[in-house]
């Protein structure tokens, strides 16, 4: 698929998972794309835990349901009403969760490019996630990033070692289709802004 098509067609997927398994060779290409991302000092500080065990998926889904209620409880009026219609995860329906984590010990004792910005390693992990997401889109898969969880819960669920931080739970799976319009726009939660609003010349605020 053309790069710009993949960027345009990529969606955050919740409701469209069919539950059919992802073929091993397809998943390998998608994970290889993630693993080809740039990383600070070539530290490649990411890991991918592929969660397919149904009890693990259900346990995580139940935790996310609880966190959904926490967020819902913070909303009032129109926001509460709008949020109540939005599906936030397809954890069990997708059949595959990819937990992406960050290991700051990766890359040796002196990571080139990280001495002044400790978070640079975390940034690298996100670049890998976007490669994964675009590759999945090109393969006809859906990806839904779930962030309604507590990091310590997820770290414990998949047994991350001390110091390794979970960055994302990605629902990855076959889909019936990908929606044209993002869910949050379709349900009236938010609308996309024009590019000109976020571009500045030489100084912030100057156009």
């Amino acid at each position: 698929m053309d790069l710009y098509d993949a960027i345009r067609r990529r969606r955050d997927t919740r409701a469209e998972f069919s539950g059919e398994p992802v073929a091993a060779d397809v998943l390998e290409r998608v994970l290889s794309a993630a693993h080809s991302a740039p990383s600070v000092g070539m530290s490649q500080p990411w890991d991918f835990v592929l969660v397919r065990d149904p009890p693990l998926l259900e346990t995580f889904r139940n935790h996310v349901s609880t966190e959904r209620e926490v967020f819902a409880g913070s909303l009032e009026g129109e926001r509460a009403e709008t949020f109540s219609k939005i599906k936030i995860e397809g954890i069990c329906e997708s059949g595959l969760g990819v937990v992406v984590s960050y290991d700051p010990s990766r890359g040796g004792s002196a990571v080139l490019g990280r001495h002044a910005i400790a978070d640079a390693g975390l940034y690298s992990v996100c670049l890998a996630i976007q490669n994964l997401w675009l590759a999945a889109t090109a393969e006809g898969l859906g990806v839904g990033w779930v962030s309604f969880y507590r990091e310590e819960f997820l770290a414990s669920l998949v047994g991350l070692p001390e110091g390794v931080r979970p960055v994302a739970w990605l629902c990855v799976g076959q889909v019936s289709s990908l929606p044209d319009v993002p869910d949050l726009e379709r349900f009236g939660w938010r609308h996309r802004s024009p590019l000109a609003d976020v571009v500045h010349e030489n100084r912030y605020g100057a156009s």
Copy 2:
């Protein structure tokens, strides 16, 4: 360009900038790709400050030189020797710095998906950076992410408002070519690891 080709050909560019200006329509497509990235709660919390003013570029380049010395001073023996040969930035040669920043106030008072993970907004900014990087690659441009700087210095240089955090300085420009092998590998700093090393099944450490 095919997505997988863009992922494979993308390089972190330092030495190959030709200094020719980037056409406005090309830059618009590249920034639009970034602005099409997914973001937590559709908050689109990024900004792009396009720095082309030569004195600003030189000021930043000088700051980065100082930080290079800080890092070099932490190294010994073979590491110091290997690092001494590696070019870490093409700030003036590229002629264009794209400062990408994170504004946590974007997206309203309750950002859907951020109540449990404060860094989720920062993660979104990195997804936009990867879209930008791949689009630039497809357009035949080079991108070099410079992270040898102090955040407060860069924030002040381009006038970021209080609370807006710089995430990256990207050198973006025309290039003579993109190297086949990443610089850090070519110069013997690090080598890429096999995918199998970072993939786990259900639990970290299980294959």
